[in-house]
Amino acid sequence: MPTRTLNGTKVWQRRDRATQFRIWLGWLIGTAVFLYCWRIISENTEWEFVQDAHIQALDMASRMVPPRWSYTPTILRPLWDTINIATLGTVCAVAIATPVAFLAARNTTPSLLVARPLALMIVVSSRSINSLIWALMLVLIMGPGVVAGIVAITLRSIGFVGKLLYEAIEEIDERQVEAIIATGASRPQVLLYGIVPQILPAFAGISVYRWDINIRESTVLGLVGAGGIGLELQASVNILAWNQVTLIFIAILGSVVLSEWVSAKIRHAII
């Protein structure tokens, strides 16, 4: 225990000796593992390539400027596609994730043994696969194009939205719910008056936040053929048109900044 008696006075320490030793040992092992891993990485790296990395980077940078502004009209359409993929994907995901969240939340699930594990399965499997990988598979299944991108974003976002939403549902104030139950309200009415008002801010916040993430994620989906500005990015990289790549980067940056701004505004307005 952290206090012990020394010459009749009680001495207090933050931790006792055994705990202190274990923590110290933990650090020792951690450091050793880190050094060992570093050695393996180092053995597998061609250091000659790394050594002239800054020269390569400077070379690429010089070819990237100035951006090729005349390329702008070509990327407007794919940029619009990208924003649509993100927005439609988010809308579909929220529509599907909301019932899933109510099934998954301990305090609203109709059955702890069937519905809840099933809903959690959906959440986990959606979360464990990156949207790029979803897109890769969907392009094979549905062919390249915007629809594959929308579905990929949807599938990926269901888990995210579902998880955060069901956690919000589990954190509500049960007393407010009990008060509504005590009036003789039916189950759907309890949901409507006791639960929905409490999770509405979280619901809006989560949806907008996911939309914001999806704008960023959908920019790369084109790399695997799932539509949007990523397609142009890949085409430009393939022909080594680095000044076009710069322009695409600027466009992506612009849309991300815009989405940040919009989502901040919306969240501010709702909460």
Binding site: R175, Q176, E178, I180, I181, A182, T183, G184, S186, Q198
Partner: protein
């Protein structure tokens, strides 16, 4: 009207919160339920509308045995039982009006409650109740913008809009200052007599209970150990309920009883000495009482 027979509740944790409680509340009768923390007061009133499922025993409301009801019949029975909470339990993000109207949820369809389309007669009644509790100007405020006393008034209006036959009141004043506490207790007891409502009021503040309620029931470790009028609540009886203490400040002096009540608002400040010395003791009791 309400008749509880041999009610027992054992929580899954093994706590025996109610041990064979029998209690009868006549139509229009108001009962104050006192007892130390953990005595089972909240459990008792929450088993009546089955927010807590009783383990055994009968609860007859107008002859209907509540524990045996199916979910539809239970919802119908709950409409006639109004509940008022210590922490007010208003839906914080809804307006005062929506909170009051939620008292009618048991009577309107899901669709109407979704689009907030309540019958005009109900809206009239809601405005009347808000006026009665002194909040007519607050109907469009959000509940989280109100003070404690105002929230409790909304809670009272919500319970009354149910048009109940009995009120279950769980420590209505425990989160309020002494003056507001008295105003709220006065409001509740006035409304019960205006409408001929029965009520069970859980309350820690014994002097306050003795001031406003004519029948006091003492609960200790899940059993009723006192049932009678405030004057019978002597030092010995209080010791039965709460345990050994110096009760001289709490026990009512003969002859001084009704005056305070009649003088009303002016001497709202003369009670607190007794009330506060008691609640301090209770705070200590609360800590000791929890195992």
């Amino acid at each position: 009207m309400l008749k509880i027979e041999n009610l027992t509740k054992r929580y899954p944790t093994g706590d025996l919160a109610l041990n064979g409680v029998s209690l009868e509340v006549a139509k229009g009768e108001v009962v104050a339920l006192i007892g130390p923390s953990g005595a089972g007061k909240s459990t008792l009133i929450r088993t009546i509308n089955r927010l807590v499922e009783p383990t055994s025993g009968r609860i007859l409301l107008n002859g209907v045995n509540l524990p045996s009801l199916g979910s539809r019949a239970l919802r119908r029975a709950r409409r006639t039982i109004g509940m008022i909470f210590q922490e007010f339990a208003l839906v914080e993000r809804l307006t005062v009006m929506e909170n009051v109207l939620s008292g009618q949820l048991g009577y309107v369809s899901f669709w109407r409650s979704l689009i907030r389309k309540f019958p005009q007669s109900i809206i009239d009644e809601a405005f009347r109740l808000l006026e009665r509790v002194g909040l007519e100007e607050f109907y469009d405020k959000r509940a989280d913008a109100l003070s404690g006393g105002q929230r409790q008034r909304v809670g009272i209006a919500r319970a009354l809009l149910q048009n109940p036959e009995i009120l279950l009141v769980d420590e209505p004043t425990a989160s309020l200052d002494p003056k507001t506490s008295r105003q709220i207790m006065r409001l509740i007891t006035e409304l019960t007599s205006e409408r001929g409502l029965g009520a069970i009021i859980n309350i820690h503040d014994v002097p306050l209970a003795m001031l406003f309620v004519k029948r006091i029931v003492g609960l200790r470790q899940g059993e009723i150990v006192y049932d009678g009028d405030p004057d019978g609540l002597t030092s010995e009886r209080l010791t039965d309920i709460y345990g050994e203490e110096d009760w001289t400040a709490t026990v009512r002096k003969k002859g001084s009883d009704q005056e305070e009540e009649d003088n009303g608002e002016e001497n709202d400040d003369d009670l607190p000495q007794a009330a506060m010395s008691l609640s301090r003791r209770e705070a200590a009791g609360r800590q000791a009482g929890r195992k």
